[in-house]
Symmetry: C2
Subunit: 421 residues, 2 copies
C-alpha cells in the first residue's frame, strides 16, 4: 500500500472538513517523475498480483470482459500457460487479484496491471504522496483493457514494455520530471477535458520531453524515433498521465468528517464511490446509467461494463466536469454543444468549489466545478457526469459516451457517514 | 445603403460570380513545400527591393514606425550603412519600396521583406498558384515588423536567416511538404483561430515535421536542437504559415464580376481592400477602428498604425471570423466569451457562405463565415472584425485587440464596381 498523506486533526463540522478537503485537492501539484515496472515502484506489488478496476471483489465475482481481461493479464505475465491454467490459478489463489486503488494506482476500463508492466510514477509535490498509472496500449480497438487478449494484443503490450516505456521513462528522467497541473490547465484551453479528449495534452507532454528526446537521438538511444512517432500519432497517450495526476490529487483529500467524493470507479458488477471522510470504504451501486454514440456497425445491446477508473478525472473537476472546454467531443460521444455546456454547468450544483487552476474559457475562465459533495447529489438529485469509452460484449471499444453515477452510491455513503458521526 | 446591383441573366451576374469566387476559395488546398531566400523564389525580387505592408505608396508617404521598419530592413540587408544613407537611398530610388501583395507575399505588421530573408513557399494545390510569407522573429516585443531595429533585432533576424529557416526548410522538404488546410481545421478544434492565437497550429506543425527532424539529428544536421526548442517555445510561429495559406487561398478568388473581398491590409496611412472582381485595385479608407487590451504600462494614445496584412486570415474566414474557436483570446485582447461569440456570429451576415473545412465546435461544427461580400457590408452596416497585435508609437508590441475595417473602403469599392459594370 501507498503511504497515505498525513491526516490533520479530526474536524467534526462537515463544512469545515469539506473546505479543508477541497483546499488539499486544489493545492495538489502532480509531477510525473519516472517510469518503471509495477513490481519495482508500487509498494507491496508481488509477481503473482494482477490488478483490475473497481471496488475489490473476490475472483468469482469477475465476469465477462473484466474476467477475460484478468485472464489475459495472467497469460501476458506468464503466470499461466493456458486460459484454463489461469482460471485455476486465480481460483486457487496462486494468482492474486487486487483492486488498483488499493495500490495507489488507477486503471483504464478493465484496468489490468501485471508485475512487469511499466507505470508512470506521479508525485504530488504539495503533500508528497505518490500515484501510478500504466500505459495506453494504442489506437487498436482490441486491447487488454477492453477485455481482449490475442497475439496482437500481446505484441503491442510487449512493445510498450520493451521499447516505448523505457524511452519515455528516460526522457522524463532526463527532463527532471514534468509538472502536470499547468500542462492540464493549458490543455483545457486547447479543447481537451483530459478524459475522453487528450489531443492537446498529449502534444504538450511531447513538447516538454522534446529537448531530452533530441539528446537521446544524438546519443543513439535505441527506439527513440519509433516511440516519438507513436506518441505523435496517439492522441490518447496523455490519458494515463491525467489519471495518475488526478489520483494523487484525490488521494490528498482524506479528511475525517468530509462528505466530498474522493474516488469513483466501476467494475463489471457496479459503480462505487469513496468519501474523503470515510477512508478506504467503497459504496457500491448498480452499473452507471449511460448515453452514448456507438461506432458504425454496433448496437446498444452490445454495451457491457468491464470496469473503469478514469472517472478519477471527474473526481478532481476534469473530464465531464470540464466538457465545455472540449466541445469537439460531441462528434465522438454524441450530443450538441448546448447539451454539453448545460451538463457542465449543472456540475456546479453538486460540487464544493471551483478549481483555482483548471478553468473554462467559455465560462469566462470560471474554475471547473470541483469536488463532488455527496450531500448535494442527494439534495439536488443531480448525479455526476463522466465522459467514457464504451466496451462491447465481445471485447474491444465499440463507442464513447457519457455516464452518470447511480444515486444509490451516494445514498449508501451518506447513510454510512451519518452512522459514523 | 447601396442600391442593389442589377441582376443580368448571363455569367456576369454578381451572385453567380460570387458563388464561383467562394467555390474557388473554399476549394483551395494550401501546402507549404519549401523555405528559401526571397530573392531565390519570389518572382521579380531584386536585391534592392524592400517590401512592406499595405496598398502601394511612394516612399515619402511612409511615416512613423513603418518608415523606421523600412529603414531597418535596408540596414539589415546591407543596402545602406547608416540610417541617413538608407533614407537617401529610398529617396533617390536606389533602394526600392514595394507592396508585399504585389509579389504574392503578405507581411505581418510593418511586413518588411528583404532579398536575403527566408520565406515559406506555399502552393495552392487546387489551382497551382503560389504565395509567400517570411518568418516570425520571436517573442521579443522589439521586432523589425513592429518598427524596431537595433543590435538585438539584427541578431535575431540573422539567426532566422542562418539557423532557423535552413533547418525548418530542410525538415519541410524531407517531409515532402505539409498540407496546411487540414492542420488549420484541426487547430480550430484546439482553441486557435490562427491569427492572434496559433498555439495548437504551431504544435501540430512541429508534429508534422518531427520524423524528419529526428532523422536530421541522427544525420548531424547543425542547429536542429536549438531550432526545435525555439519552435516549441514560440506559439506564434505558425501565424506566418497561416497567412501564406490564406494568401494563396484568397488569390484563387479572382473572378470578374464578384463583389467578394479578396484582400484586406493596412499601412501607416490607412486600411484598404481589394475585390475579387476588380483585380489589383485597392480601395483605401482611414486607419481601422480598434478596441484593444494593452500590456501593463502602456496607454491608448501610444497606439500607432504601421501596417498589417495578417487580416488576410479574416479574408478567408479565419482569425476574427473564427474567434468563437479561440475564446482564450479574451485574456490577451480583452472582451468576454459572450462578446466574442456575438462578434463571430455577426460575421455570417456579411459573408457569402460557410467554410466546408474550417468549422466551429461551439456552433455545432457550423463552417466559419467565409468570403466578405462588400454589398452585404454596406447593406448591414456591419464591418469585418479582425484580431490583431497593437504596435506602439515608439516601436514594439504594446497590446492586442480587435479592429474593424472602415466602411469607406467598401463604399469606394462598390462605387468603382458599379462604374465598371
Amino acid at each position: 500500500m501507498v503511504s497515505a498523506p498525513t491526516v490533520p486533526e479530526a474536524l467534526d463540522d462537515v463544512d469545515i472538513a469539506n473546505a479543508e478537503a477541497f483546499r488539499r485537492l486544489d493545492a495538489a501539484d502532480p509531477w510525473v517523475v519516472d517510469v518503471a515496472p509495477a513490481r519495482d515502484v508500487i509498494p507491496g506489488y508481488t509477481d503473482d498480483l494482477v490488478l483490475t478496476s473497481g471496488a475489490p471483489m473476490a475472483w468469482e465475482d469477475y465476469v465477462g470482459g473484466q474476467r477475460e481481461a484478468l485472464i489475459g493479464g495472467a497469460l501476458f505475465e506468464g503466470l499461466a500457460a493456458t486460459r484454463e491454467e489461469a482460471v485455476e490459478g486465480f481460483a486457487s489463489g496462486r494468482i492474486r487479484v487486487g483492486a488498483c486503488h488499493d495500490y495507489g494506482a488507477v486503471g483504464s476500463l478493465a484496468g489490468i496491471y501485471t508485475a512487469s508492466m511499466p507505470v508512470f510514477v506521479v508525485e504530488n509535490r504539495a503533500l508528497g504522496n505518490v500515484g501510478f498509472c500504466n500505459f495506453y496500449e494504442g489506437k487498436e480497438p482490441r486491447r487488454l483493457n477492453y477485455g481482449c487478449y490475442d497475439e496482437g494484443v500481446h505484441e503491442r503490450l510487449l512493445h510498450v514494455n520493451t521499447v516505448l516505456a523505457p524511452v519515455v521513462g528516460e526522457a522524463i528522467r532526463r527532463t527532471g520530471g514534468v509538472p502536470l497541473k499547468s500542462l492540464i490547465a493549458r490543455a483545457l484551453r486547447m479543447g481537451d477535458e483530459v478524459h475522453s479528449r487528450n489531443a492537446a495534452a498529449s502534444m504538450l507532454f511531447n513538447r516538454e520531453i522534446l529537448p531530452a528526446v533530441l539528446d537521446m537521438v544524438r546519443d543513439d538511444v535505441p527506439g527513440v524515433r519509433e516511440t516519438m512517432v507513436h506518441l505523435a500519432e496517439n492522441d490518447y497517450f496523455f490519458l494515463r498521465l491525467s489519471m495518475a495526476a488526478a489520483k494523487v490529487s484525490a488521494d490528498a483529500m482524506v479528511v475525517p468528517g468530509s462528505t466530498l467524493v474522493s474516488a469513483m470507479a466501476f467494475s463489471c458488477r457496479g459503480f462505487a464511490i469513496k468519501l474523503a471522510g470515510l477512508g478506504d470504504r467503497w459504496f457500491e451501486g448498480p452499473p452507471p446509467v449511460h448515453e452514448g454514440k456507438l461506432f458504425a456497425g454496433h448496437s446498444e445491446d452490445e454495451i457491457t461494463w468491464m470496469g473503469g477508473e478514469s472517472p478519477i478525472t471527474e473526481t478532481v473537476g476534469l473530464g465531464g466536469f470540464a466538457q465545455a472546454c472540449a466541445l469537439t467531443l460531441q462528434e465522438y460521444q454524441g450530443g450538441s454543444a448546448a447539451v454539453m455546456i448545460e451538463r457542465n454547468e449543472q456540475m456546479y450544483e453538486i460540487t464544493q468549489g471551483e478549481s483555482s487552476t483548471y478553468r473554462i474559457p467559455l465560462f469566462d475562465f470560471r474554475g471547473t466545478p470541483t469536488a463532488i459533495d455527496a450531500r448535494k447529489v442527494l439534495a439536488t438529485g443531480i448525479t455526476p457526469v463522466m465522459d467514457v469509452g464504451l466496451a462491447g460484449r465481445d471485447g474491444g471499444q465499440i463507442g464513447a459516451g457519457i455516464i452518470r453515477a447511480p444515486r444509490e452510491c451516494f445514498e449508501l455513503a451518506m447513510t454510512a457517514f451519518e452512522a459514523a458521526l
